[in-house]
Each structure stands twice: as C-alpha cells, then as structure tokens.
Symmetry: C2
Amino acid sequence: MSRKRVTIKEVAQTAGVSTQTVSRVVNGRPDVSPDTRQHVQEVIDQLGYQPSKIARSLIQGQSFSLGVVSSNISLYGPSHVLQGIQETAKEMGYSLMLHILPDPEVYEAKKLLREIMSYHVDGILWAMPEIGQNRDWIQQELSNLSVPIAFLNVQPRPNQATVIIDNRAGGRLATKHLLEQGRQNIGIITGPMSWWEARQRELGWREELVANGRSVDESYITHGDWTPSSGERGIRMLLDWHPEMDAVFACNDQMALGAMKIARQMGRRIPEDLAIVGFDNIPEAPYFDPALSTVYQDLTEMGREGVKQLLAMINNPDAYRPDPIRIQPELIVRDSS
Amino acid sequence: MSRKRVTIKEVAQTAGVSTQTVSRVVNGRPDVSPDTRQHVQEVIDQLGYQPSKIARSLIQGQSFSLGVVSSNISLYGPSHVLQGIQETAKEMGYSLMLHILPDPEVYEAKKLLREIMSYHVDGILWAMPEIGQNRDWIQQELSNLSVPIAFLNVQPRPNQATVIIDNRAGGRLATKHLLEQGRQNIGIITGPMSWWEARQRELGWREELVANGRSVDESYITHGDWTPSSGERGIRMLLDWHPEMDAVFACNDQMALGAMKIARQMGRRIPEDLAIVGFDNIPEAPYFDPALSTVYQDLTEMGREGVKQLLAMINNPDAYRPDPIRIQPELIVRDSS
DNA sequence: ATCACTAATGTTAACGATAACGGGATATGT
DNA sequence: ACATATCCCGTTATCGTTAACATTAGTGAT
C-alpha cells in the first residue's frame, strides 16, 4: 500500500517550523538552535523523509549524477570499464545515468547529448571504443556542450580529458616477450582495424619487431573481429601461408582461444611448436589448455580514473587539463609461450 | 565555451509567445494554430531546445527513469541481465539509474531505497542474486515503497512481479542428458549453496536422478563458488572419492572449465571416461577443449522481460499480477558429453 | 533607555516545466 | 442581433527544494 513521497513541507508542518528550517537541518547549516535541530531531525527520522535530488538539482544546478555512454555492456571490455566507473562514482556521491548505444558506429550525437543533458547530468563519461569515424560526430558537438566530458580509451586529443590503456605498449610487451623466447617468425591476429585500440596493438607489434632488427612481413598479419571463431580463421590462414610460423600474438584472449584450438588440430604443440600470447586476461585465461599468456589491461582502473578526471573538471571548471592519462598494461606469462 | 542550458522561457521569448504555447508545441497538443506551431518549432530547432526531464518529472510525478539494483556488473551474469534491461528500457523511452552494491550480502535496504527514490524513479528492478538472507532486508521495506518493483532471478513470492530462469529445469536437463548418454555415476559441482540459483540447479540434478530410479549419494556432491579454481578443487575431490565417476554436472561454465583441466591431468579422457556439462553458455564455451556441453540461460531476455513487467505495473498500478514468469533454459550438446 | 549587533527563524522568489483555468476573437445558430 | 461554442493563447499556481532577503527577539555597550 504505497505511501506517497514525504516532502519537506510535511516535515515542516509536523515539526511546526518552516521548510527553510528543515532544509537547514538537512543540510547541516549552522543557523539552527540545538533544540530545534534535534526536534526536526526526530521528525525527519520518524517520517522517513529523504530530500528530492530532483528538486534540489533544479535549484542548485547540480544533480550529482553523471551520464555514461557505452556500448554493449554484456561484453568483457565495456562491463569492466563500467564497473570501475560505478565504483568511483558511488564513492564520490554521484549516481549514473546509463546510455548504451546499440551500434557504436551509428548514432546521432546531437540527439544523444540532448537526451543526456535533459537529465541535467553534471558531466559525461564517453566510454565508447573509437571505431571508424564514430569519434567525429561527438567531436563536432563538443563546443556547445555545457558540461565537462571525459573520454575513455580513445585517441587523445589536445585539451580533452582522456584516460587510456597504452595498447601500443601492450603490443610491444607481447612481442618483446615472444622475441625473448627466441621465436623467429611472429605473426599477429589483429582486431578490426577500424578500431583505434586494434591499430595501436598492431603498431606495438610492428614497432617491437623493427626495434629488434626484424623485418615486418605484411603477410604475417591477419585481421580478426575479436571473436574466437575469427581467431580460428586467422590462425588457419597464417599457418597455411607460413608453416614456419612459431609464434602468434592474438590481439585478445577470445581470438587466442580459437587460435589455440585450431593450431592443435593442425598438429602444432603449444608452446613447443607455436607460442601464443593474448590480450585482456579474461578470468578463463589461466584455465585454457595450455594456460594462456596474455597482456593484462586494467579496464576497471581506467573507469575509476575517468571518473576522477571528470569530477576534477566539474569541481574546477577552469582547471588546467593535464596530459592524457596512460595506464600501462602488464604481461602475464603462463604456459602458452 | 559551454553555453548555458536553453530553457523554455528563452524559446518563448525568442518566438514571442508564452511558455505555455511552447510547451504545447513540444508536447504536440492540439490547441495551437499551424502558423504558431511552425514558428515555435523553428525557434526550438534553431536554439537546440530540449525540455528538461527533471523539471517535467517534478510537476508530472513521472520521471521516465527506472532504478536498477545489481551486483558486480563485470561478471557474466549481471552484465547480461543489465544489457537486456537497458535494451527494453531504451525502447520504451525510459532511462536507467544504476545502483551497484559492492557486496550483495551486506546492504541497508532502507537507505538504499531512499537513495533510489530521491531520484523519483518510476519503478525499481531488483537484479540481485538471492544469497543467504539478503532478500529479507528488502522484503521488509516493500510495504512502504511508493513505486512498483520487479524481481529478477529470485525465489518467486506471492503478489510480487518476478522473472526467473528455471534453474531447476536446467539442472534436470543437464542430468537427463547425461543419463541418456548411459552415464551411471553422475556427480555435481554446485555453486555456493547460499545462492538460491545454486540450490535450484542442485535440486534439478537430484530430482532427475530420483525420477530415473537412481539413488542420490550425498558424497557425489561437492560445493564450488562459481570460479574455475573451485571447479578444479571440486573435480579433484569427486574423482578421489569416486574413481568410478563417469559424468559431472558443473553448475556453471567456469567451474566446468577448471574441472575439465584437472580431469585431463588426472588421466580422464573427455568425454570417453568422463562427461562434463556446464551451465550458462559463455561465449568461450564452444572453444574449450573439448567444446563444452552446457545449459544455456537467456539472461538478457530475463532483463528484457523484467522491464516489461515493471512497466506494466507502472502504467496500470492496479493490474492483476500474473504468475511469475519462468524462462526455460536450453541444453546445448557439444563435445564434452 | 537607546542603538547596534547577533542568533534564530520565517517569507518570498526562483529553478524549468506543465496543469488548470481564463479570456478574447471568431464562428455558429436562432 | 444576441447567445453560445470553438479556437487560440495567456496567466497563475504548482511540483520540492534552496538562495536571498526579511523579521523578530535577545544581548551587550554606551
């Protein structure tokens, strides 16, 4: 039997004071006598009064909520980022308005931002992967956006708060490790090259090879789409073209999983004949057969850091914007390399 | 150079009409002449005016936002449920206020609900697993909750909107399949028994055995905690105690993964010596070695259905509450059984 | 006793929007 | 010609809260 919302008026009436006095008690202002304060507080507790953040945000122009734009959160990456965002937001007293785009490559930036802003959020976290031209739409709207925005895992641009995983360094880590294992012919199964992250990982692989005096053979590259089945296709192509290949950097763990399965079917022993390194460190990776070596990226930390950056901008709009924050991935060596 | 928010007043002033007229245009009300309507619409487009949902919700008592209570969304289950919730909410024109509890077994229901209600949400989706006594706290607060609430994947109770996966049927599916494969000694690695879902799966296993005239040996049961490493421990105990065991129902895919790894190390061939069936159908399952047979639960659909139920209650508060909705899981047979 | 000041509380307006009502102009009916 | 209905638009009150200002009573100084 749902009771209606308890308002400040009811509290004021019950306590026999003005709403302003109740407001002062709720907000811990000094101008209230101890007696009154206690009495009002008792009434508040008794009625179970909770101030409306909606009404408060109208008058104060601050809602203590953040807009989050993300893509399909049932995937490993976005869900971990969101978890981090959530943790820090909650800690700092902010709530989240969630906006998931069904297709990261197709959206109307103007409409999206208006929708988000209609909830009077204090800031926006852009947690969408940078794919194709999808950064440009939002970029054009930035000039007349009335709240700060922080970007996660996209190419840093001047004067924009950005927090990224250093995917390029991650690619180098993986490749360096394979070289140190004495591998001679190191192929790569990339992510979709329309993704900025995927290009960065490939770049890291390329740079590390060159830095070690190896030549880069373009036919050692094959492109996947992050799915295990694309890992299967990728490894099949690589091994067909280059039977001498003795190591592969799969740009995420799921593709690595598919690749290992097919490689075994094609008669390769892992890691003896073929070493594999993945990227992500999904919880299943240590239990693959063999346990997968991989590059760990702390996506949750990235989410946390993004919120911190955003709140810094909110609380000090004229703040100096620091260089983009780069979170370093870590190599985790297991049995596949 | 952030412009301030465009309000209805500015639009009215620019267009030379009253705010009420602008409001009528925005809401497509009839009492506006075609000329005026067009003129106002032009001004709206030109200024980029977007009505404030905050202000609107104050006066109308409806915010078109839903509160979602969930646990760690970086996990497989919660993230998939949330994705479904999000999809349908967006489709129906609702936004989400996200509330994640750091520990599903410890929370203050009263405080939590007040916090959520302070955003004037139109309804609440309870997407927390039922663990230990954690359902009771919220249950006590229900009587003075002023908006409808729908529960996901918890034990149905009278007069409460509930959408669940039929975990018990899932447990029976898995066990039936193993029996049909001619397996004689079927063990189980359960989830944590404080979880309702885990108990239901175990119950299904138990029931199916009994229904087929088998006796249930309690030492064929071992308890895991959903993690792959607990699957490793579980299978080790089961095979130590009962070397004759020729099938195991692991109550999620991650535990199945750990179990398969250790079973192989203990010299069992899968599926020849030991059949394994998991639960969930995580994206990696088809690529395990061997490909994992499992029980697929459509968590996203459960989220979608939950929103539909909730909106039905919101739009018709006196509605007859139907029986709890039970979503049937499906058996997916691959190579591990 | 008067003034100035402080402490405690109340009053009014405002945030951005819509509901409810009112009223002028035109059209319709007799 | 007059009452009545219809169309179109404006005015006022309101949602729940807080900012800004106003008021009252008491305190201390002169």
